[in-house]
Symmetry: C2
Subunit: 456 residues, 2 copies
Amino acid sequence: MRSPSTRHERMSDFTPLIARFAADTPGSDLPDSARRMMALSLFDWSCVAIMGTKEPVSRIIRSLVRSEGGSAEASVFGESVRFPARAAAMANGATSHALDYDDTHFAYIGHPSVAVIPAALAIAQKMDASGMSFLDASLVGAETACRIGQWLGRDHYRAGFHQTATSGCFGATAACSRLLGLDAVRTGYALGIATTRASGLKSQFGTMGKPYNAGLAAANGVESALLAARGFVSRPDALECAQGFADTHAGERIPPQRVLEGIGSRFVFESVQHKFHACCHGLHAALESLTALRDEHRLGSEDIESVRISVNPKWLDVCNIRSPQTGLEAKFSYRLTAAMVLCGLDTASLDSYSEGVCRQPELIAVRDKVVVMPDSGKPDTQADVVVSMRSGRQFGHSHDLEEPVTLSARTARIREKGRTLLGDAAAAAVWGAIEGLEQLSARQFIRSSLEVCSHV
Amino acid sequence: MRSPSTRHERMSDFTPLIARFAADTPGSDLPDSARRMMALSLFDWSCVAIMGTKEPVSRIIRSLVRSEGGSAEASVFGESVRFPARAAAMANGATSHALDYDDTHFAYIGHPSVAVIPAALAIAQKMDASGMSFLDASLVGAETACRIGQWLGRDHYRAGFHQTATSGCFGATAACSRLLGLDAVRTGYALGIATTRASGLKSQFGTMGKPYNAGLAAANGVESALLAARGFVSRPDALECAQGFADTHAGERIPPQRVLEGIGSRFVFESVQHKFHACCHGLHAALESLTALRDEHRLGSEDIESVRISVNPKWLDVCNIRSPQTGLEAKFSYRLTAAMVLCGLDTASLDSYSEGVCRQPELIAVRDKVVVMPDSGKPDTQADVVVSMRSGRQFGHSHDLEEPVTLSARTARIREKGRTLLGDAAAAAVWGAIEGLEQLSARQFIRSSLEVCSHV
């Protein structure tokens, strides 16, 4: 890439700099570590997409896609025929976010993969791109979503916009533009189209609107890039111009020189987090601490006197249902999920969250020994846990989700999550396709996941 | 309709009230005057859509629609086969706004027909609805756009949102929901989906993004209604809830009791304005005054000493190019269009705005006698014109676009515009279909316009 952040560039030209990053960064410049992280996210995304196909929102959107029909360009999880790229991106975007079990990027509070990968995959299939072009475009798209998301900032999120959908749409647009071979000027127009198309509100959380937001981001990215490829001319400075996207969407406009620092060589995307428990992300730091204590000290649930969990107070409004009664409520309960870990249930498994689990006497007994305490000094990614035993012994552990994890440790856990979700053989098949990405076309790559999908 | 504004309703429940209006107002309650105005807008819309098919943005979007293909549900102006309703709505929405010659509603500053009619038409064709169901749904949809547009208010527009696209999306959603037979609850969900889908920025003005905004509003309306019909559940209070559409999009939230006054019996839509000159709406009041003076006093352009036009100062930044050099610039020039009227050129004709016209010595001579003056006391729909003759005589005229016009006078002018655009025979064919709407299905109705379209 020809250094987009050199001094003679006007830093007010944000859209053109992003467009040049997306269009002009050679694949050979992409760091291996970033590519490996993208491959892990691709595996993780495939697993949650496959398992999301049976959710009501996924079925509804697929039913619309089927009734529209159209050119056989791209695959849809849960369908045996192909559909136009835009439609496939919408269905796969919503399906992969339906379980809310996909990756998260805390620097801009968004789920990068569910908006970017479905769009990139659909266009890669349509264009018969190589597996590596698809992976690279996904990485560049996810990085675009992260950087634009950081530029829009917390204010944008706090105002009510779902960064997964808004910044995600720009990431999807960048990925598709790259796969279509658009130059920086046309990529800028594609981003301009996306500014007038991007949408998605947090007030839909708790409804089918949340996963739909990911699908519409992916679909809008596909449409924006395809229109730009056909000569559609939009504002080339549409993110930053007066009454552009930032102005109209509570964009914080963190200074571009900060947001774009190292773009093209350093990948912010690499600090993406994966979910290893099938519940609210606010619970994960506590569950990590509890799992570590349980495994290290071989704690028996019957010997426990009390459990104390301290977390940032923001979570107490989000996921502290004291006595959950349904599987969904269980996913938002520190007390019950703590009991699940201490009683040896697998919190990574979707099936562990049920009405039956909420009623198990052994779990309820432990649940009622758990106290959750606010600690405003803690970052929202951290939890401290102290388990006191009847014997008088105490065990403490603190975990922060942002703590560095080695790539091999992360790989092992993501593969374990895949096995929990899909079963050993199916997870191995999907993993095999990821490992073979250098030898496969995007079309060949997706075949193994579809094969798995048709059997779950 | 079962009185949505009775006292026991909570006025905070804005979305449900709109949904009940859209779903529950019986066709028999729709006033004839409102229906007749909608029929006029439908004729006007058909003419500008037919003439818009050759514009680059229309061709680009049709090319995408063709490449996607799909179920033969709905017609697209300029194409000989049918496409999925969503795709048809997008193409026809953009095509009908491509010339910027469609109707305008000043109460919310939006173009109601280009977002609502393409969506209603596509679903009416898909459902094989009657011509009158299609007309009624268009009217209810346009009224929804006007009322929600008024509720969002000038602040929403001033912040940078293109009401044609945002409020238009809600109008399109209401029209489609009605044609799909959704009850008020599902219509509310459809509007909820639309809140997370609606978009469109004014910063795209001057690019292909402006007509595209109309197309995406129409397409989003179709998609939102089709998803709700399939059981998609969204926020039922998504326009007014915390961090809902108004909160996140600079909505002014004019008190609902004011905005919804008389809804179901009085139709705000009836004050829609049609364009009778193929140029910026800011010029129209002046052109009306000049035409009246020319025709009343049989002014000869060679006898003119000077022309003085006074208008609200806001227009001086918008459409006061002193010496236009291109057809597009001519559309934003008080001085040249005034000269065109005084020299007898037809300002209703698309062909009158050209480079050649900008260079005509006779026109330039008159153009250079025109002075444009700001008058901050004038509403933005008014212009005063004084023409001074070499003989020393002076003629003055004032026109306000909001002045009431009889339905028959308006009908005559809209039919004249149709003839100017399409030619006599084609305009008569389209008009015949409008007059026959009570006997025709929506599918039969659109056939005559398509037939015309294939010959222009």
